[in-house]
Structures are given as structure tokens and as C-alpha cells.
């Protein structure tokens, strides 16, 4: 109750003076502690995504956002509203994303963001389950004849500023005692343009991002991704500190997608399986035919059914957006289910 009244006080103050305040972002951020209520009142989820990285988040020819990260936003919207279209996508750059989340401009950031200690603890964010285990790599034109990142002495490197890759890059070159020239850029599209124009020799970002970028080139075969992976980049959606209920909702929506793949629940058979209780109690609890996990999250019984029906389970989302059948062509690798030797592992739904 103490917290609640404090909250109202801030809310009241906000309505009085909001416009005059240069720091209004912070005010709105603090005032949004009950995120789920705000989202329901607004009728849509504000979801921060990248400004455009094919396969992860990019608008298609009709302006409809699609991709691996976008699917997470859509699953959350579907879990809350039963309608995956109730999302407002907010494109953010590496530099603007954290401010957008901290200020309350977005409720959820699904923007291939690396989970790190300082972002979790010092920047006051809450990381959700990792949805893609990645690592930083280098892409370079084949014509330069470079086969190892250690031969990059003196190279000009395009790098998105405000990312962990920027710091990893500095560490890597320092550790190997070689020099480089960083070219700071804001977005993936800008990097692509600079790299193709030859304004930088090398482009470095997460290996998945490199594969996605290369897939959009005219001649993808002219570019190689060097074998060195210089960092661990567990990419995960994130929310603000301080609203655990909202964090739980997003966390278990992601887990629901992962668990659905494990139990063979797909976008095609989910409605059918949810129609009546089956023989596996775990699936029954997930799909709401037994118990009422949805109510504990403040959602309907069919929250997980809707989330899975939106774009399918984790495996389906992966295959449709970045999998081997797409131009990006990423193998599951570490991102396979734990039953297949990967790291995707959902805690029990119980």
C-alpha cells in the first residue's frame, strides 16, 4: 500500500507538470510500474525492435513488421489480447534502445540485445530467457584474402555504436596487440552501405546479424564470415526493473514457445490440442485445459494457446525467419532444444 500511494502521488504530479519537464521520460518510466494495466488500457503492446535487420525485425514490402524478434512481441500481444496485431513497433538504434525502455516509451525491448551483468544490474533492466545464443563475428570481402581475424592489423572496421560488440572489438584487438580504425555507425542499414562502398574493410556484429545482412547482398558469395567468434552474445528480450508481474508475463510467454516445441505443440495443432484435455498433464497445464496458470499471470486460460497460435512455437519461428530454409540460413546449433543437445530449456509449467 505504501508503494501504491507513493505511486499515485507521482501520477498526480505527472499530470500537473508533465509538459514542462525535460526529464519527463523518467517520470513516465517510474509511473508505469503496473505495465500490464497500462498495456490493457492502451489496447496494444509497445515493443522496441531494431531499425531493420532482415530475419530478426524488418518491415516487409507492405510495411508489416516480421522477424524472429518481432515474433516475440506478437506472441506477447497474442497472450494478452488474443490478437497478435495489437503491437506498436518502435524502431530503436543501439544507442536509443535503453533510454526508450527506461523512459517507458516501450514496454518490452526485443532487439537482439546481449544480456550482460551491467545492463541487468546497473542499467536496471530485467532480462527474459535468451531467445538466441549468439557470438560476435567478422565479415570481410573474399577479395581481400583474409582468413583469420588475427590478420586484421590496420583494418578499418564498421561497428554499431552503443553495443557490446564495440567493447568486445576493442578488447579483441587489444588482446592480440593489433591496431584498427573504428568507423562508428548507427544502424545496420548504414553499416551495410558503408561496407559495400568499401568505406570499411570489415563489418563486425553478432554472427547471426552478419548472416542476415549478407543474405541481402547482391552477391553473398563474395563475402566471408571469419571463423573467429570473439564473444558470448546471449540475445534476450528485456523489460524494466521494478514490475515483476510484467516480467513474469513476458518470461513465461517466451518459455511457453520453447516448451511448445519440446512437447510438439505447433501453430497447426494447438487449437485442436487445446479443445480438450489430453494425456500429458504438462501440455494440459500449458494450454489451460487443466489448472489455471493464465489467471496467475492476470491473463485468460488460453494465453499460451494464443501465443503459440500467433506464429507457432520457438522452432517454427526460428525456421520461418532465420532457419536453414531462409536466405539467412542459420543452423539451430546452440539454439536447438536441450533434448537435441542445444541450450533451449524451459522450466516446467506447474
Amino acid at each position: 500500500m505504501e508503494r501504491q500511494s507513493n505511486q499515485e502521488e507521482v501520477n498526480m504530479k505527472r499530470t500537473v507538470f508533465l509538459g514542462a519537464l525535460a526529464l519527463s521520460g523518467l517520470v513516465a518510466g517510474a509511473a508505469a510500474a503496473a505495465t500490464l494495466d497500462d498495456v490493457k488500457a492502451r489496447g496494444k503492446v509497445n515493443c522496441g525492435v531494431t531499425t531493420g535487420l532482415v530475419g530478426f525485425a524488418a518491415p516487409d514490402a507492405n510495411g508489416k513488421w516480421e522477424g524472429f524478434d518481432v515474433a516475440i512481441c506478437r506472441a506477447v500481444a497474442a497472450a494478452i489480447f488474443g490478437d497478435q496485431e495489437k503491437v506498436e513497433f518502435v524502431p530503436t538504434t543501439g544507442q536509443t534502445r535503453f533510454t526508450a525502455l527506461a523512459s517507458g516509451e516501450v514496454d518490452l525491448l526485443a532487439r537482439n540485445t546481449t544480456n550482460t551483468f551491467s545492463r541487468d544490474v546497473d542499467l536496471k533492466f530485467e532480462f527474459m530467457p535468451t531467445n538466441y545464443y549468439d557470438g560476435q563475428g567478422f565479415m570481410i570481402p573474399k577479395a581481400l584474402g583474409v582468413t583469420s581475424a588475427k590478420d586484421l592489423d590496420g583494418a578499418t572496421v564498421c561497428i554499431q555504436t552503443g553495443t557490446t560488440t564495440e567493447l568486445n572489438l576493442a578488447d579483441f584487438f587489444r588482446a592480440n596487440n593489433i591496431s584498427y580504425e573504428p568507423v562508428p555507425i548507427e544502424t545496420n542499414a548504414e553499416a551495410q552501405q558503408q561496407y559495400l562502398a568499401g568505406a570499411c574493410d570489415v563489418y563486425t556484429t553478432d554472427a547471426s546479424g552478419l548472416a542476415a545482412t549478407r543474405a541481402t547482398f547482391e552477391n553473398p558469395g563474395d563475402h566471408v564470415i571469419l571463423p573467429e567468434i570473439i564473444s558470448k552474445e546471449p540475445l534476450a528480450p528485456l523489460v524494466r526493473h521494478g514490475d515483476n508481474d510484467w516480467g513474469d508475463l513476458v518470461r513465461w510467454t517466451v518459455y511457453a514457445l520453447i516448451a511448445a516445441e519440446e512437447y510438439g505443440v505447433t501453430s497447426e495443432n494447438v487449437k485442436e490440442m487445446a479443445a480438450s484435455a489430453g494425456s500429458n498433464p504438462e501440455i494440459n497445464r500449458l494450454l489451460g485445459t487443466e489448472g489455471d496458470l493464465g489467471a496467475m499471470l492476470g491473463l485468460g486460460k488460453d494465453w499460451a494457446v494464443n501465443a503459440i497460435a500467433a506464429n507457432g512455437n520457438y522452432g517454427e519461428i526460428f525456421e520461418a525467419n532465420i532457419g536453414e530454409s531462409t536466405p539467412i540460413g542459420l543452423a539451430r546449433g546452440l539454439n536447438a532444444q536441450w533434448t537435441d543437445g542445444g541450450l533451449m530449456y524451459s522450466p516446467p509449467f506447474r
Binding site: 519537464l21 583494418a155 578499418t156 555504436t161 572489438l169 576493442a170 562508428p184 568499401g198
Partner: protein
């Protein structure tokens, strides 16, 4: 008279605060002040409260933490193990650099165009009008992005400069225009550079004093002494003489390359084959430059260890830090005797170097090496800021000139003054009074607009302190406050300095 003392003593009543015009204005001001303070208190309190709710504190200690990121353009030494404070300083210097270059260029362009726009030549004045209207009426950001895109898309890549490539260096292989920037020769100082510098400064002062003297003679006696050529000669001739003197004396001295465990007269190529990887101790300056040229001409791969002085390099060589060093040819014997190491002179020598030499950019593995790289981001920002602000300054200059009454120039012509003298002695001094105050705000605009560097990735203070540092540490409030304070201070300094100049050109009233 006595009635005055009988007047009732005015006793103060509270209602007077509102109804008495003597007090009312004070009352209103006090109330306004209280409201203002309350508003500020509310803002600050609200911020503090909300920061507390987010679990954030207000703390500037992040400035002392390790930055961890690299910056491409550094005017002072910096690497990623230094602090965020140092990174901010690097950014501040980059901001100052582009602001200074922009202000100077914009002023030159502005004065030039402003005068030409008043030209009687129809083509010239219309061309200038097109320039002014074109730049003044299109957003600055578009110009920055356009110039940057032109620089990156239409210029060759460094690898096009290789043999068989489509591009070649300009001005006797000394300037390379690439899509990563323009590489120009870097001045390198050698023996006698300090004396050369002192001579230059002294002769510049002498030239200035000569002009003052000529002006005094003109005003006192009406005798017109030649001004431009003598002043130019006083400024340049002594410096050239000193340069030539040093070039023919110390510049001719040869530096003998010495190798540890070498046989006397061995070539450096043979030495490299026999003794494995080469590391060379080099002092800063032209000695190093000439050694590099000599080693490159022999196609030798080596690692380089830099020292500030010759003694430092020799000492490090004696301690075994490297296996090659060079000493003046005359002192080879003393050098070999004074050490227990097996040291012998190799076949190669290199010149000691002139007081000032230029290091040309040379194509390396990925990029040009040596020389100064003027990055495209700097060029785009600098050109766009100068051309944009220059258009405004041109209009200010034109207005200033037009503000001087036509009678002034007619009177000057009647006295027989030629047009350029009329402009320099009659029109411009009067026009400056009108020009300078708005010029100050153009300088301020240009300085603040330099934060548009974000569009082209120029590493100014907004990009380091206000960009990467904020992003890595999550200290938005502190970072933005510091950034705001920096721009505020800079603007106040610029306008303070310009105001001093303004008061010196102002009409002196007695």
C-alpha cells in the same frame, strides 16, 4: 513650513501590498519568484524521487571508470583502457576542432560572398545569390548527409590505389582522396625545428610592427610606404634562410644503421635473413621518417619501438629492447667501443633530415599508412557547417556594407581613393560595427550545430560522452547535464571573446 511636520505618520498596512502602487510591483515580483522557486523545487524533487524509485542514484564517478571503447579521431593520446572522462575530453577536442575550422571557413566564405553579392558584375552577383539562397533554405542536416554520401560513394577505395587499380595519388604522390577520407602529408620535425619556429614567430612580429610603422608614417606625414611586399619579405625570408642553413648542415649528416650481432658492412636484408624478425629503436622526428623510408625501400618487415629522444633509443638498444638502431656516422667508433655488445655497422645509412620534412601517406595492408587522415566525417561536417553558416554570414556582411551611407563612398571617391582602399579604409571599418553582433550568434549556431556530427559518425563530445558513455554506463541524466554544461560554457566563452572584439570596433564616443 510647520504643516509638513504635522502630516500624519504613514503607518504600514498589509492591504497596501496590493492596493498601493508603490508596493504592488514588488509584491508581484516576490510572488513570481516564490512560484518559480517552487516550480524548480518540484522539478528537482520529482526527478530525485523518480530516480530513487528506479533505483538509480546521482553520481559522476563513472567518469573515472574504464571506457573500454575506441575512438578513431584523437587529438590527444587515448586508448580503450583510459577513462570515460578522458574519452569525453577527446570528444570535446574534436568538437572544438570542427567548430574552430567551421567558424574560420564560414567567416572567409561569408565575407567573400557578401562583398561579391554587391558586385556590379551581373553574373557574379547572381551566382552568389544562388549560393546564399540555396544553402540558407535547405536544412543543414541534408547538406551534411549529402556531402558525406558524395565523399563515400564517389571516391575510390584505398585498394583501388594498388598497381593496376583505377585511382592514383595527387600532387606528386602526396595526397590520396579515398572514401575513408583524404590522406595528406604530415609535417615531421627534425633538428633545428625549434629554432625555425622561433625565427618564424619573430619575423611575423617584425612584419606586423613594420605595418604599424608604415601606417603611422602614412597618418603622420601622408607618405605612403609600400606595405604588402616588404611585410611579406620580412615574414618569410629569414625563415627560409634558416631552413636552408639547417638542411645543408645537419640535414646532410648520415645516420649509420647498427645491428646487434651483425657482421660489418652486411646489408640489412641479409641481416634480417640471418637474425630473424627485426625490431628497430627509433627516436621521434625526421630520423625516424628517413629510417622508415630506407627500410621500406629495402622491402624490410620490422616492428618499431618509439622513443622521444635519440639517447632513449640508444639506451633501449643497449638494454636489448631491439636489434637495430641508428647513430650519427661520425660517432660509430665511439658507439661500438662504449658497449660490451657485439655491434657492427650495416651497409645502410639514412639522412638525418631537414628541420621540417613531410611524411607522405603510403598504401599499407588495408589502408593508407602515415600522413594525416582527414576523415570523411570531419570533411562532410566541416564543409556543410561552413557553407551553411557562410551563407548567413554573407547576408550579414551585405547588410553591414549596405548600412554605410552611399555618401561615404562617394566622398572617398571624390578624394581620389581607389575602390579597394575605399572598401578597406572607409566602408568595412564602419560596416564591422553592424556586422559583429549578429556574427557572434552565427558562431554560436555553428558551434552548437556541430552536434549534428551524429549523422556522419564524427566522434565529437555528443558521440563520446553523450553517446557511447551514456549507453555503456546508463548515466543519462549525469551525461546530459555535463553535455549541456559544456555547450553552455563554450557558447559563453565564444560570445565573451567576441564581445571584447565588438567593443574594440564599436564607435568610440567621447
Amino acid at each position: 513650513m510647520s504643516s509638513a511636520t504635522d502630516a500624519p505618520r504613514a503607518s504600514f498596512r498589509l492591504s497596501q501590498l496590493i492596493y498601493d502602487t508603490r508596493y504592488r510591483s514588488i509584491t508581484i515580483q516576490v510572488i513570481a519568484l516564490i512560484l518559480l522557486i517552487a516550480a524548480f523545487w518540484w522539478l528537482i524533487n520529482n526527478t530525485v524521487q523518480n530516480l530513487a524509485m528506479l533505483g538509480k542514484d546521482f553520481d559522476f564517478s563513472f567518469l573515472g571508470a574504464r571506457a573500454g571503447y575506441d575512438i578513431n579521431q584523437m587529438l590527444i593520446p587515448y586508448d580503450n583502457s583510459m577513462t570515460h572522462g578522458r574519452a569525453a575530453l577527446v570528444g570535446i577536442l574534436n568538437t572544438l576542432l570542427v567548430a574552430f575550422m567551421g567558424c574560420v571557413t564560414a567567416t572567409v566564405i561569408g565575407v567573400f560572398v557578401g562583398v561579391l553579392r554587391l558586385s556590379k558584375n551581373w553574373v557574379v552577383s547572381r551566382l552568389m545569390a544562388v549560393y546564399v539562397e540555396g544553402f540558407r533554405n535547405v536544412p543543414l542536416l541534408l547538406w551534411i548527409v549529402l556531402i558525406f554520401a558524395l565523399m563515400t560513394e564517389s571516391t575510390p577505395q584505398p585498394r583501388d590505389f594498388r598497381e593496376g587499380g583505377s585511382a592514383s595519388l595527387l600532387f606528386g604522390d602526396s595526397v590520396a582522396i579515398t572514401n575513408r577520407g583524404v590522406f595528406i602529408p604530415m609535417p615531421t620535425w627534425g633538428d633545428g625545428a625549434a629554432i625555425l619556429g622561433i625565427v618564424l614567430v619573430v619575423s611575423l612580429i617584425a612584419a606586423f610592427l613594420y605595418r604599424r610603422y608604415a601606417k603611422k608614417v602614412l597618418f603622420d606625414t601622408g607618405r605612403l610606404l609600400p606595405m604588402t611586399w616588404p611585410a611579406l619579405a620580412i615574414a618569410i625570408v629569414p625563415t627560409v634562410l634558416v631552413y636552408l642553413a639547417f638542411s645543408f648542415t645537419t640535414g646532410g649528416v648520415r645516420m649509420q644503421l647498427m645491428g646487434a650481432e651483425a657482421t660489418e658492412g652486411q646489408s640489412v636484408a641479409a641481416y634480417a635473413e640471418a637474425n630473424g624478425p627485426l625490431s628497430v629503436c627509433m627516436p621521434e622526428g625526421t630520423i625516424k621518417l628517413n629510417m622508415q623510408r630506407m627500410l621500406r625501400a629495402n622491402d624490410i618487415r620490422y616492428t618499431e619501438k618509439d622513443f622521444a629522444t635519440e639517447e632513449g633509443a640508444v639506451q633501449a638498444f643497449r638494454n636489448g629492447a631491439c636489434n637495430l638502431v641508428s647513430v650519427p656516422a661520425a660517432s660509430v667508433a665511439a658507439f661500438t667501443e662504449g658497449t660490451d655488445l657485439a655491434v657492427a655497422p650495416l651497409a645502410e645509412t639514412s639522412p638525418r633530415g631537414k628541420p621540417l620534412e613531410f611524411e607522405k601517406p603510403v598504401l599499407g595492408g588495408f589502408n593508407f599508412e602515415g600522413g594525416v587522415q582527414v576523415r570523411n566525417s570531419l570533411i562532410a561536417l566541416w564543409l556543410a557547417l561552413s557553407l551553411y553558416t557562410g551563407a548567413f554570414i554573407a547576408e550579414i556582411v551585405r547588410a553591414g556594407i549596405l548600412s554605410v551611407s552611399k555618401g561615404q563612398s562617394e566622398a572617398a571617391f571624390a578624394l581620389g581613393l581607389r575602390p579597394n582602399r575605399t572598401m578597406n579604409l572607409i566602408i568595412l571599418p564602419q560596416a564591422l560595427r553592424v556586422i559583429i553582433p549578429p556574427l557572434i550568434s552565427q558562431f554560436l549556431n555553428l558551434t552548437k550545430n556541430s552536434s549534428l556530427a551524429i549523422a556522419v559518425g564524427y566522434m565529437d563530445v555528443r558521440a563520446t560522452l553523450g553517446g557511447i558513455t551514456i549507453n555503456q554506463t546508463g548515466r543519462e541524466l549525469e551525461g546530459m547535464l555535463l553535455l549541456g554544461m559544456f555547450y553552455l560554457t563554450l557558447s559563453l566563452v565564444i560570445s565573451g571573446a567576441m564581445n571584447v572584439y565588438n567593443s574594440s570596433t564599436r564607435l568610440k564616443e567621447r
